[in-house]
């Protein structure tokens, strides 16, 4: 039982970080970023390059990942999403653009980093063994703690910084935010960069544990979509809740349902459908339509 909880927390913290980035972009621009998983993979490869090929410390890898992904995010917003949103009449255009960007990032990752699975050496040795109730390697604990720390930092940033307040205001009432003097373009770009940065950071964190490969992008995006559907799209607390719930369900599923084969995600999806039928706006989302 304790083991399941610990695993769930560890998974959930990373999931929540990914979902936070996705939901931030969604709430500011009503864009579903299909390329989120690819950004995550990109971040993982950057950390790998910095740590393994350049031989710099892990923390430097994280910083470089965060920085590069933020720049990529800002560029994508400025030169791709902004003009398309301005010109298009329907929301499918941004969805297609996001799909195109996902393909593009896949191609870039393939060309720069190749197809091979990459990993960085363990950043910490040893295993915590608490009476055989919880067994967890120290590096996992460290990564889990780091992820939770980042979530807290993100919440604090959104809550108490001027930029964070501006983004929350934009998400809640675009017109009123404009009337307060918030420059929509500028904060959409900052928000997109921040969302991409979070994806990159998670990639950097996870490359130490599971390694990273090209094929992980799509499935990661899909998990992130599930999380924000559970929690409610565009709501920060919803993304965190969704992340931890999915992490927990996965952890429970892998233990309890293992005897029936690999059906965890089937069960999760079936429950998600039933849940959405009852509450289409997710746990904390605003009702719409």
């Amino acid at each position: 039982m304790e083991q399941i909880l610990a695993n769930g927390l560890y998974l959930g913290a990373q999931y929540a970080l990914i979902a936070l980035g996705l939901t931030l972009i969604f709430s500011l621009m009503n864009v579903l970023n299909f390329a989120h998983g690819q950004m995550y993979v990109f971040g993982g490869f950057v950390t790998y390059t910095v740590v393994v090929q350049w031989g710099l410390p892990f923390i430097a890898g994280l910083f470089v990942s965060a920085f590069i992904l933020a720049v990529i995010g800002a560029l994508i917003e400025r030169f791709l999403f902004r003009p398309v949103i301005r010109k298009s009449h329907r929301e499918e255009s941004t969805m297609l653009l996001a799909a195109g960007i996902a393909f593009f990032l896949d191609a870039v990752i393939l060309l720069i980093f190749g197809e091979k699975q990459r990993g960085v050496p363990k950043i910490m040795d040893g295993v915590l063994n608490w009476d055989f109730r919880i067994i967890m390697p120290y590096d996992r604990i460290l990564i889990g703690v780091l992820a939770i720390g980042m979530i807290v930092a993100f919440i604090l940033f959104m809550q108490y910084s001027k930029a964070g307040r501006a983004m929350r205001a934009l998400a809640q009432d675009r017109v009123a935010a404009q009337l307060m003097g918030v420059e929509v373009d500028r904060y959409s770009m900052i928000g997109f960069a921040l969302g991409a940065m979070l994806a990159g950071l998670v990639g950097g964190l996870l490359v130490t544990i599971t390694g990273i490969n090209l094929g992980m992008g799509g499935p990661t995006s899909i998990k992130a979509f599930m999380m924000i559907m559970i929690g409610g799209a565009g709501v920060i607390s919803g993304a965190i809740a969704g992340g931890f719930i999915l992490g927990m369900m996965e952890s429970i599923g892998l233990t309890v349902l293992a005897i029936y084969g690999d059906i965890t995600y089937l069960v999760i999806f079936a429950s998600l459908m039933i849940f959405l039928a009852i509450r289409p706006q997710g746990l904390m989302g605003k009702p719409w339509g």
Partner: protein, 325 residues
Amino acid sequence: MNIKKLFGVILFLLLVLVVVPWLIAKSGRWDFYYTLTSVSLLSIASAGVWLTFYIGRINIGQGAYALAGGYVAAVLVSKYGINFWLTIPLAGLFCAALSVLIGLPILRLRGVYFAMVTLVLTEVMRLAALALPVTNGAKGITSIPLPQELSVFGFTVIPDFSTLANTKLAFYLTSVVLMVICYFVLWRIVNSRLGHLCRSLQQNEELSASIGVNTAYLRVIAYSISSFFGGVAGSMFVAISQSIYPSSFQVTDSVNFMLNCFLGGLGYVFGPMLGTLVLYFGWDLLFTAGRYQLLIYSTLLIALILLLPNGILSMGIFNRKKTRS
């Protein structure tokens, strides 16, 4: 149907059933058969996606139904020895029934939310194929026999494929015929009252309800027809490749079906056919670019969306067609 349209249809049939095989025989590019067969089958699946666009829903889950349809055909043929031709409608019906179950809750969602769920659906179908015992897991179902003879009242309509010298041509012809049938059905739907009601739904669901349309029912009907097409396409693929794996239809395929529709134009029944042809051929032609294939392809795609964010049909010359179709 007026004379002009009838003429157009006959011309099209001549082109795909006579001229194309003749050209291929002349040029000796037998590999084009495979490409064109794929195009016609993929365009059937895309036609389904197009129909969900027609009721105002962005469907990125068609891969799920193509996969399901494929497995239905594979299982029925290889485990129960049912004639392949019979499994095509069965696969379609299975997918339609499945989509009613899935559609009832999720069709209440709109816009991005519906799109998200359908995308997840594709991935879940893959996982289901991996996990369920009947699908044989990751090993897939292989060595599926070629289609048997189809006879009606003792009269052979389609000969046994294993006796044919040129199965490529046979698959091409049957796929094209299947595509023509599907598009005829789609065309009939769009130009009958059902299509008009779908359009009313796409443009304004509330108004549609206020003129007495049972919107929930109509959405499920349209979605199940859409999934039927997906299942049909998937089952035919199985006959050609004689195998199916959980990875036969993936998220990328679902996204591509959506791209086909968008590229061909959402206001035009034959749009998805055109879109599939352009995208598939474009992808094939870029094969020579080797490792830069995906890069060029996606760059072109992004450029296209940047230039024409409202679809190819937003270009001036197509606008007339859109209003009159």
